[in-house]
Point group: C2
Chain length 332, copies 2
């Protein structure tokens, strides 16, 4: 709970802060924001992350001081673990012997920490860090504000997603008052790709098609496209959403070749259409409107199977929306 976190910050002095590997904007933004907050309270604090921080977040204040470590190598009074479903996610050895503070906004959290503060009403952990700052009587400095704003923007898809609440926007307003320039944060996130992203997008978009109902779109990415475009991890962020700009397209299947007859698949959908259920049928998982899976076999055949399964989900979702179905069959 928040009150426990406030108390332990007041009673301890040396803090480590970590988040999952390949951190997203909420993971790294919240970690850095918390680090600035702790320092402003006169505490010793540092962010420790396994591996590199994605380019979009490398210009956040304090990012240059993040330490890339394999196992806990210093003496901390407590380690904050930000936005992690379990203690393995940071990929840092030795965390299990530490006093850990689990801060997360996912209701599915395993409550693995010595102390756990889970608030599933928060749009992002960043929102919780802001609340912590207020609760502890800290000042929202420009550094804290920039880090926390990054967390909010990335976890709400720039205030597009349904997790955006009036509190999210109120906090965002306060952060801008504290010195954030929204355009700078947006540019760091959305205009920070290598050119290879554009080249890869050109090639992937060239494969776009719709099924015969016009409701399910699909995209393909071959290994060769990655090679010829010189693409790096993250270059294809959001490609799966492009066909959803069409009003009649209710779901999209994006297959990426990762080896011979091996594919990673992203599924996206609108509204009531549950692609998590589709992913589960194929051994994957995810959220209602964003899910993923791995699949092996003949490309055309597997694509046909996936599109068919997604189309069933679309038809079911439409029937629910129309009030034609009120009891769910097992599969959805």
């Amino acid at each position: 709970m928040l009150s426990q976190v406030v108390e332990l910050i007041e009673n301890k002095n040396r803090f480590g802060i970590t988040t999952h590997i390949k951190p997203d904007g909420d993971g790294i933004g919240s970690s850095l924001g918390l680090c600035w907050l702790l320092k402003s309270l006169g505490k010793s604090a540092e962010v420790i992350v396994r591996g590199e921080i994605p380019p979009a977040y490398q210009n956040l204040p304090g990012a240059e001081e993040v330490r890339d470590i394999e196992s806990v190598d210093r003496d901390y009074d407590a380690i904050f673990v930000i936005e992690c479903s379990d203690l393995d996610r940071p990929g840092i050895k030795g965390l299990e012997h530490e006093f850990t503070v689990n801060i997360d906004h996912h209701s599915t959290s395993a409550h693995f920490g010595t102390v756990n503060w889970i608030d599933s009403t928060a749009s992002a952990v960043g929102e919780m860090i802001y609340n912590l700052c207020k609760a502890i009587g800290g000042r929202v400095t420009r550094e804290i504000a920039e880090c926390v704003y990054m967390a909010l923007v990335t976890d709400t898809g720039s205030f597009h997603f349904s997790n955006t609440t009036d509190r999210t926007l109120k906090v965002a307003s306060e952060l801008v008052k504290a010195g954030v320039k929204p355009a700078d944060i947006s540019e760091a996130v959305y205009s920070n790709y290598p050119w290879s992203r554009i080249e890869l997008m050109r090639q992937v978009l060239d494969t776009v098609k719709r099924d015969e109902t016009g409701r399910v779109a699909s995209l393909r990415q071959t290994l060769k496209m990655r090679e010829t475009s010189g693409a790096v991890d993250g270059d294809n962020n959001g490609f799966v959403n492009i066909p959803l700009a069409a009003r009649d397209v209710l779901a999209c299947v994006y297959m990426r070749e990762i080896g011979e007859n091996q594919y990673r698949v992203s599924l996206r959908s609108k509204g009531d259409i549950n692609v998590a259920k589709v992913a589960e049928r194929f051994g994957g998982g995810g959220h209602r409107n964003a899910a993923g899976l791995r699949i092996d076999g003949d490309w055309d055949e597997k694509e046909r199977e996936l599109i068919e399964a997604v189309r069933e989900a679309v038809e079911y979702g439409e029937a629910v929306a129309a009030g034609d179905i009120t009891v769910a069959p097992d599969v959805f």
Copy 2:
């Protein structure tokens, strides 16, 4: 001024509200929001617009009651003219004989109204309508909130652009509190295109390239692409921004064929790079980071000229950012 607007609303009863033809989200959202506000105050009010409302805004509350008229055909005590640079922009005859109230957030407004309320610190006229609602003691109903939120989202590029202030986000927060679902508004704007947009994007993106410096990207759209994709107006919204996702690309030139050897050109840039100045050199105009022009001639040749001019602007912008130039030459 705001106080004058409050007073005239209190003293008059029958209001018309209009905005420019092909209204954007701020034009139509603010008009409808104001209409709901006036009605909630017991006044007679209606929105009159020349031509059709783009699909993205047709589901706003009250949009179905907007009247498409060619000339003023009813008796109004006053007509609000929303987000128009002059009295011709609505394309409705007879406005010049009316008592008009010019509400705009562009500092360049011609002050053409009987009463003028210009607030260039507002991110959108929507923000002004919210302020008006508060000033007049109105209640922010769900209808008002949805219309005004649409105005904010579209004029700030989903709170990305540099016009986003802490007040913008504070107002957005209040609107969500009043019942707006941000995801619904976003979907109406960004997922409401015909499939032709996707097909057109595929074809246009296939022409993407960079100049030899890697800083200026370009895109082409032929008449044939429009034809084969079945594209309609607005389908290419935002294409010009796609290459700017690459961090090294600082500007983009997007040429659209509109007749034999005739092109409409959009220019976009990042940061200090002033493409308005480039557009002006070619007889066009616009803002620092978003400008446009028309040009005739051989495609390759004109594209070369434009790219060269934009590259000069890029080099100049970089020199300014680096502090190497402090006095602007005539051209920028």
